[in-house]
Symmetry: C2
Subunit: 409 residues, 2 copies
């Protein structure tokens, strides 16, 4: 297997793009990514999308987007794994380049939730669950998240306000991300006063449905003549769990997330302590909690303590920064595009191009000395993460796709 | 890149499976394929499916099918490229194994057209076209096929009855395929009397929507202790064209089909003359015609002559047998599963396990001597193809995925 590098990044604003069609949205992310990679048409296109067939009444996005971007003829296909579609598309792009069959692969995650020509959004999102036993009975993803959250609170004696830190952190981080959907400050008070979506999941526990597109170019050859640090995909893996939450042996353990994280670390030759930034799938606060526990960043029942303020471990200056650009919660959750956004954001961190959203750098910027556990990874005073992790989940964790990105020395 | 072998095959009957759910249908194809490959769970599952989100209100088939088959935990994703979804899933499985990252990949194509919980079938199929400019204007795939067929008749002075041979051949071949949906004989008279779907496309020019599932296990290691001939994926490629037919420079030239065939042959080191059997995408007669021309088996405007009876070149005993098990027309067209059926059928041919549907063998069985151009490829008296080709099209040829299968000496 040959090494696979990231040679171009692109992303659109996340929000409601009423005036832009699906193909245009994809183009706005793909174009800058391909430009950065040198401008030549990619050899293959992998589209991460979940809902276009249902919401936009458009499938076959591979050929559609390839043609619209001016690359008629190139290989193209859509990859779907519900909310993990973006991560799954990145993995297919990785496999294609790693195989030696494809020299350059463009991965585009795109979703347009504001297109509602076909089914309604909630009905469409419920197709990510086990339709026969969940969706068709009226059980939406939000309802499933509520069941998990309630069970978690019961099992570990955790209160609603213990979850507040995740959404507060996400909004705080999104503030300086011009791409983010919600850049307003969220206070604990506002969180606690929020109306319920599906008790105990409140409005601020659920990431907003959004439109957006993100893109990554993967190449086997080293990009030449670039001052940018070189980013390599050091780990890539996917795993599954039962789609129906009630079928899982221990519903509070995201076994797919745990398994795919272990496989990705093994491939990269690292462990959780090496991860400098973790873009996790916080489509619901409870999923952020369960992801941190599944991936070994917290003991079971204790992940909420990582969000305890001040000096939360999950903040950009903390021990394990998550959602450094706002996460699904505040950057917004454009379904099948979210997994690609996560990887773009991790790559920006490792390149040191995250600006005010930089983890580690932020730490030194605000005057505090880097902690010793971080110092080893840093370069001089500018403390940047050398390894970053992105994990994309589908359907309450039934699919998990994990990527480890590494900055080459 | 390491070699990739086919180590297991499975398929269900094609037809209307009202009593069977999507996951069960997939299981019925997957189980025998995995059994044949030794019974161990595959490491990764690639599902080819086009319409489950719209028709069954179920996406996220990867995790769903993996779990239902008893392989909870394995990597899984769905690959979509409209009608070429099955071929595209096979290609992703191939890339995964070729990359060295995955030791065994199960490719399952599954479609259930009889599930109509969501959208209607015609509306759903139209999402394979350019929705904004075709589908949303009421232009269905059948209507697009009619425009192409009319143009072809005008351009080359071909009459309706010149197309009859394709459907007659498909039905004749399906007769001995117990999996096929339509095993009745079709006469030229019946063809000419058939009611129109979208003039000049008649009822026998359009392949029937169907339910079905087919499966292939791909492995990097040689299957041990098997008397079966070893089948290798010698060529694999995908290409695209404009989704909107009116945007193509020469609508009668399937440029994606031509390009992907050329790439697949180059990879396999062969040319069209080496192909002993060609499973092409005859969702409409005109697509069979245009595929044969795009892939160099006939000059432009002359493909219909290959179907002229008696002794049609496309028959099982002919120069370039197509649709040897009935093709999409008579075996049936279960959308995203069709591409996997095609590859299963080619593999059976190369193994010499096609029974009465065997190409070449059929030639000697009925007492005629093999022609000299075939003899070179045969083994002793039993004349079997050494190379076979499967080509899966999506959306009137906007996506084409081509695989070349080879029998190892």
């Amino acid at each position: 297997m040959r090494p696979v590098y990231i040679s171009g990044l692109g992303q659109t604003d996340v929000g409601e793009h009423w005036q832009v069609s699906l193909r245009e949205l994809a183009h706005y992310a793909a174009q800058p990514a391909v430009e950065e990679a040198g401008g030549a048409p990619p050899e293959a296109l992998f589209v991460g999308n979940m809902l276009a067939g249902q919401l936009s009444r458009q499938q076959h996005l591979g050929a559609l987007i390839a043609d619209f971007c001016g690359w008629r003829g190139i290989e193209a296909a859509t990859i779907e794994a519900a909310g993990a579609s973006g991560g799954a598309a990145l993995r297919q792009g990785f496999l294609a380049v790693a195989s030696g069959m494809v020299e350059s692969a463009l991965v585009v995650g795109v979703e347009k939730m504001t297109d509602k020509i076909g089914a309604g959004v909630n009905a469409a999102l419920a197709t990510a669950t086990d339709s026969d036993y969940e969706g068709a009975q009226g059980v939406t993803p939000a309802a499933l998240a509520a069941l998990l959250m309630r069970r978690y609170m019961h099992e570990y004696g955790v209160a609603l306000n213990d979850f507040a830190g995740f959404s507060v952190n996400a909004h705080a981080n999104a503030k300086t991300n011009p791409r983010a959907m919600y850049r307003n400050t969220l206070t604990i008070d506002a969180y606690l006063r929020a109306s319920m979506v599906a008790e105990p999941v409140n409005m601020f526990d659920a990431a907003p449905d959004a439109d957006g597109a993100a893109a990554i170019v993967l190449t086997a050859n080293l990009p030449r003549e670039s001052d940018r640090p070189l980013i390599r995909i050091a780990g890539s893996s996917a795993a599954t769990d039962s789609l129906a939450v009630h079928d899982r042996r221990a519903p509070l353990v995201l076994s797919a997330a745990a398994l795919s994280a272990r496989k990705a670390w093994a491939m990269a030759g690292i462990g959780p302590d090496d991860v400098g930034v973790f873009e996790l799938h916080d489509s619901f606060s409870i999923l952020a909690v369960l992801s941190l526990e599944a991936c070994g960043f917290a003991e079971r029942g204790l992940a909420c303590t990582l969000s305890a303020m001040p000096d939360a471990a999950i903040s950009r200056s903390g021990r394990i920064p998550i959602c450094a650009f706002g996460g699904l919660k505040a950057r917004g959750n454009p379904g099948g595009a979210s997994g690609v956004y996560q990887a773009v954001e991790v790559a920006l961190q490792l390149r040191g191009e995250a600006g005010p959203n930089q983890v580690g750098a932020f730490r030194s910027d605000n005057g505090r000395e880097p902690g010793s556990e971080v110092e080893g990874k840093g370069v001089g005073r500018r403390v940047e993460a050398a390894w970053g992790m992105a994990q994309s989940l589908g359907g309450l964790g039934a699919t998990a796709v994990t990527h480890i990105l590494a900055r080459e020395a």
